[in-house]
Amino acid sequence: MSSLPYVQPAILADALSALSQQRLVPLAGGTDFYPARVGQPVADGILDLSRLTDLCGLSTSVSGWRLGALTTWSALRRAPLPAALCALQRVAAEVGGVQIQNAGTVGGNLCNASPAADGVPALLALDAQVELQSVRGTRTMPLGQFILGNRRTARAPDELLTAVLLPHSGAHTRSTFHKLGARRYLVISVLMVAARLDLDDSGRVAAAAVAVGACSEVAQRLPLLEQRLAGRRLDAALREVPHAHDLAALTPRSDVRASAAYRRDAALTLVRRALGALCDE
């Protein structure tokens, strides 16, 4: 009987080397890994990332914010972030309960690629890029290209998602995140909406980003709506801009959490509310 490896590297280079040599499942917070194996023994070789402290935490440089892939939701929730990243901090406060927030990581949330991943719409709206490393090198790509479908990503088996990169926003950027579930805490989203507005010096919308999650296989931006929002004044009329046809590209499904028709209807309400909330700030 062969033995399944459990590799626990202390530095990234060793982790990438191990991944290049054998098939290993990267394990971070475990909050998706173990729930997928209820009642079953672990039958995978494991690359335990928990000692890679280099991949924890946030930093900022001229090129933007860098979130280490192992940054937990709790760390994000407590970090002093600019208002532009408010959407991300609201996600951090609404993912699961405290236990999940303490263990779950931003990188894990993206790599698990659940259609209901709370982090995805917020990071899409923040124009996030992901950084992937392997012994072959480093590449970055927009988050929208990284997640291919339900539980499918562009990560090659020998790659690790090492960081999420966020561009610096202007001084007048604000963002928010709204989550809808059937109970107060600890709930998988029926749907969620993230929105970001970049304002120019006159207070008009220079650029907008709106993303909807759990209404399609992968969370989606709403480019037509974003274009119509650009150039508008930041006032109460902004929340009247979105219309049902802006959501036409969404493909919500009916499941135990809600009907497809409801998701489409509620998505419009949440988009309007998100924009309204940004106006009220």
């Binding site: 009987m1 033995s3 209820v38 079953q40 039958a43 109970r183």
Partner: protein
């Protein structure tokens, strides 16, 4: 299979509760398993293995995490605290004391996780707000308490030293005695069903049907076993001596293991027995099972239409049983009624979602005569019924089976049916080895019973004055694949279908319908929460039609002592609904006025509403005998022992029965020890269900205490009112110079060590119902009324319950803390039933798709305890366990009606359903 790789074992060291430990385990093993199985620290509970319930919460490097989602290898070199590390030197920490004082632990299964989350919260926020506490506890589900007592306990622990209430000798009844089994639930010592088993026990895992209806053939199992090292046996139907069981003698329709066919998704087909590793490594598809899938019969309509062959040959119309109550002339009365309200109401499968999944072990015990007995240790609400049924399945005499109930991590009716016990029993009996098993959360949800979905067509009529004149109720209940408690539901509902009102004309007809759905069983209220949803909605409609306030309408019609129920039973006492309503009236009227004064124009999408609902509930079994016997002994060492056959699922019978017995005997509670549930050492107290233990076993405990008192007084020829005291082994009787003393240590003891014993039995008086359901089905009834204030987001269809106020007539509150705990916990389950709980087999068999209320979903609750004494009850008491949850859902839906004008006719009213109704109303 043989070439399947397995994870390497490696040494892992960490600091555990302040001490360094080293273990050699699989690094990818879950920390929760390593704590429990390798280190023997079973205080950390496993409720779901998926991070959904938080029962396994531990504190790792100063942060709360779920131990079930942490790899053992990740803990190396780190600092871990579990519930066993909270209490220093055997003294409960302040937080634990606060839990005890506030009744924050009921069944105790979530308690270790809740304590660790609370400890983490207090470390972060030494002086927390209620919201910070809720945020900190948000990841731990509790199914018993409704959370408010837990939040209060955490706030109290932050506030300073906590004092525990004490009961004066002879004054235990009515006192807030902390749970007598509380300390063990707070420090991790309590032994639940998965916490103990013989070290050499084999493991059992059932392989279950992925189909709702199918036939199957088994291939060569002997060859399969031979090729799977570690598998000792694969049990099939052929291994079960008598392969059928059921609640009632008339219908034993459920097999232990499916015999060539299955009737529901999750039915056990074969059972793997072997090493834990071997049975868990098998993928079900590997087994040689050849399926022939058939079209299932799902839902009441398909069941009644008998699409396909009937479920069981003995029920060609798929009807298990019909219930019937007829009184007066309903059609005529409805024709003459000034107002008639009618509707069709639908409810869903509801899962008990106790935090402890089923578990246990069975082992043969040699007898002196050379034969064997079987001991079964498991979580159960009914040890004596289990004993008899296990004996029947094994085809042996009942006295050859001993059932030892574990501590029970919640039941609510779900542990009234056999689940894992017969599998363990058959395996152990056949293989002559101890065999244990633990259900996973999905397995527990798939294969155990559910609340019956109901479809009810109901008409209520009243006259011009607002007096109810007639009720016409037709209710069908989906009892699923097997009978279980279906006939109890079908027979109980008609008696309750007209609500807690005096109605001269009633026609209530029910059917329990077989389908290929999950087995409909017992669940808090036996169908009455469903029928109450229907009648309280219609009573609200009639109040509106009459232009009356909903509370005033109910007050006018509330049944009073001297009036007859639908079965013609004239209530003679303890009918406290009027008192409940009068107690709620000022707050109700104030809330309605406040809400109706709100200006919708300034509320955006939010609408407030206040709704009320009432209930009545017969305490104990319907008609059929439900006796209880209790024994109490005085030991030579000066301790009193209550031999208590009533199992405590968390509701508190182990405390309440001692309080009653102690006052009857005249000695303080702290002198009592207990033997609980063990069928070899206690008498049959009947099942812990139907809200009967306080009333029925309470009487037995009272009588037992009185009998022992008489015997002790007779020993020293003391008068009946003489005071008893125990000083070490000296029993002192009487006062001052007249005190007589008896040295217990000098007396002869029986085989239990008791020098004197009292025994008491009680069986509530009932009479059979005639063909029209007329008679006296219960000895007494519980009554209650609740109002709820809600906020509806009309754009999203979401509902927040802002406040609940409840008044319940309990006869006498033996322990007010526990009565309040039952009421708030019942309200939490009512909130779940109203707004979020719907079980769909194979789709929501986990605790993230099946939602139960979290700490953020249960609002502040004001509880009014009404005490209209029941002359038959112990010290006037009757039951409250089920009554507490019955009116909550309709109070909420009536509040939604008040807020939005939408009448809710289907539960749960999820956001998508309510939004659809709101859109429909806007169109209309």
């Amino acid at each position: 299979m043989n070439d399947r790789s397995r994870p390497a074992v490696q040494p892992i060291g960490f600091e555990l509760n302040g001490r360094g430990v080293q273990v050699a385990v699989t690094a990818s093993a879950r920390l929760s398993d390593v704590l429990r199985d390798t280190l023997g620290l079973t205080g950390t509970k496993v409720g779901c293995s998926a991070g959904d319930c938080g029962a396994c919460t531990v504190v790792l490097d100063g942060q709360q995490v779920c131990a079930c989602t942490v790899a053992a290898g990740q803990v190396h070199g780190r600092r871990l605290t579990t519930v066993e590390g909270l209490a220093a030197d055997g003294t409960l920490a302040r937080l634990q004391q606060a839990f005890l004082a506030h009744g924050a632990a009921q069944c105790g299964a979530c308690t270790p996780g809740m304590l660790m989350a609370a400890a983490d919260t207090l470390a972060r926020h030494p002086d927390p707000s209620a919201e910070q506490v809720a945020d900190g506890l948000a990841g731990v589900l509790c199914r018993c308490t409704g959370y408010r007592a837990i939040v209060a306990a955490v706030l109290a622990a932050a506030g300073g030293p906590v004092s525990l209430p004490q009961a004066a000798p002879g004054r235990a009844v009515g006192a807030r005695v902390p749970r007598l089994d509380g300390a063990a639930r707070l420090d991790g010592r309590e032994c639940y069903a998965a916490d103990e088993a013989p070290a050499d026990a084999l493991w059992l895992r059932a392989v279950r049907s992925p189909h709702a209806r199918a036939r199957f053939r088994l291939g060569d199992l002997a060859a399969w076993i031979a090729s799977h090292p570690g598998i000792v046996d694969v049990l099939t139907a052929a291994d079960v001596p008598c392969n059928s069981f059921g609640i009632f003698d008339a219908v034993k329709d459920q097999p232990v293991l499916g015999d060539a066919r299955v009737r529901f998704h999750g039915e056990a087909v074969v059972a793997l027995v072997g090493t834990q590793e071997a049975v868990s490594a098998v993928h079900d598809e590997e087994l040689p099972i050849e399926w022939s899938v058939e079209e299932p019969v799902l839902g009441i309509e398909q069941g009644l239409a008998v699409t396909g062959a009937p479920l069981h040959d003995f029920a060609p119309d798929n009807v298990l049983v019909r219930g019937r109550v007829i009184r007066g002339e309903v059609d005529e009365a409805l024709r003459r009624a000034a107002f008639v309200a009618e509707g069709e109401f639908v409810t869903s499968h509801v899962e008990h979602a106790y935090i402890e999944p089923e578990a246990g072990y069975a082992m043969r015990m040699p007898m002196p005569d050379g034969g064997d007995r079987l001991r079964v240790f498991a979580c159960t609400q009914t040890p004596y019924m289990d004993r008899d049924e296990i004996a029947r399945i094994l085809a042996i005499e009942p006295d050859r089976v001993q059932v030892v109930p574990s501590a029970i991590g919640g039941g609510f009716g779900g542990k009234l049916d056999l689940s894992i016990q017969p599998l363990l029993a058959v395996a152990s009996w056949k293989l002559k080895r101890p065999v244990r098993g633990v259900y996973t959360r999905p397995e527990s949800m798939l294969c155990t019973t559910k609340r019956h979905p109901a479809r009810m067509r109901v008409r209520f009529g009243c006259d011009r004055n607002g007096d109810l004149v007639a009720v016409d109720f037709l209710g069908d209940f989906d009892t699923g694949a097997y009978a279980s408690w279906g006939s109890t539901v079908a027979n109980r509902v008609p008696i309750h279908a007209s609500g807690p009102y005096a109605v001269p004309n009633v026609r209530a007809l029910t059917r329990a319908v077989y389908t290929n759905g999950p087995v409909g069983g017992a669940f808090r209220g036996f169908g009455v929460p469903q029928s109450t949803f229907a009648h309280e909605t219609l009573v609200d409609e009639l109040a509106r039609a009459c232009g009356m306030d909903p509370l005033a309408f109910r007050l006018r019609n509330a049944i009073r002592a001297g009036q007859a129920t639908a079965t013609g039973q004239v209530l003679t006492a303890s009918a406290g609904l009027v008192a409940c309503l009068l107690r709620l009236q000022p707050a109700w009227e104030a809330a309605r006025r406040r809400v109706e004064a709100l200006d919708p124009a300034s509320a955006g999408a939010l609408r407030r509403g206040v709704g009320i609902a009432c209930m009545a509930y017969g305490i104990g079994n319907t008609v059929i005998a439900n006796p209880s016997t209790m024994r109490v002994g005085l030991r030579r060492n000066g301790r009193v022992v209550l031999y208590n056959g009533a199992v405590d699922l968390g509701q508190g019978s182990s405390t309440v029965l001692v309080q009653i017995c102690a006052d009857a005997l005249g000695l303080p509670v702290h002198l009592f020890d207990q033997v609980t549930g063990d069928t070899d050492r206690t008498a049959d107290a009947g099942k812990s269900s139907a809200s009967r233990q306080t009333f029925v076993s309470g009487n037995a405990a009272r009588i037992a205490g009185s009998v022992l008192r008489e015997r002790l007084l007779a020993l020293v020829c003391a008068p009946a009112d003489a005071r008893l005291r125990l000083v070490d082994t000296q029993l002192q009787v009487g006062e001052g110079s007249g005190t007589r003393s008896l040295d217990l240590s000098a007396l002869d003891a029986d085989r239990n060590g008791d020098v004197a014993v009292g025994e008491g039995s009680f069986d509530p008086p009932t009479t059979p119902l005639d063909g029209d359901g007329q008679g006296m089905p219960y000895a007494t009834y519980g009554f209650g009324a609740q109002f709820a204030e809600v906020e509806v987001d009309i754009e999203l269809g979401t509902v927040r319950v802002l406040h609940v106020e409840a008044a319940h007539d309990v006869g006498r509150a033996i322990n007010p803390t526990q009565v309040e705990g039952q009421i708030v916990g019942g309200i939490a389950q009512g909130i779940g039933m109203a707004l979020m709980e719907e079980y769909v087999a194979g789709r929501s068999d986990n605790l993230h798709d099946y939602l139960i209320p979290t700490v953020g979903d249960v609002p502040p609750v004001v509880v009014h305890v009404i005490e209209d004494p029941e002359p038959l009850g112990p010290f006037g008491a009757k039951g409250v366990g089920e009554p507490a949850m019955i009116p909550t859902a309709p109070a909420i839906t009536n509040a939604i009606r008040h807020a939005t004008g939408v009448r809710v006719t289907r539960l749960p009213v999820t956001p998508d359903r309510l939004r659809a109704q709101l859109l429909g109303k806007a169109k209309a």
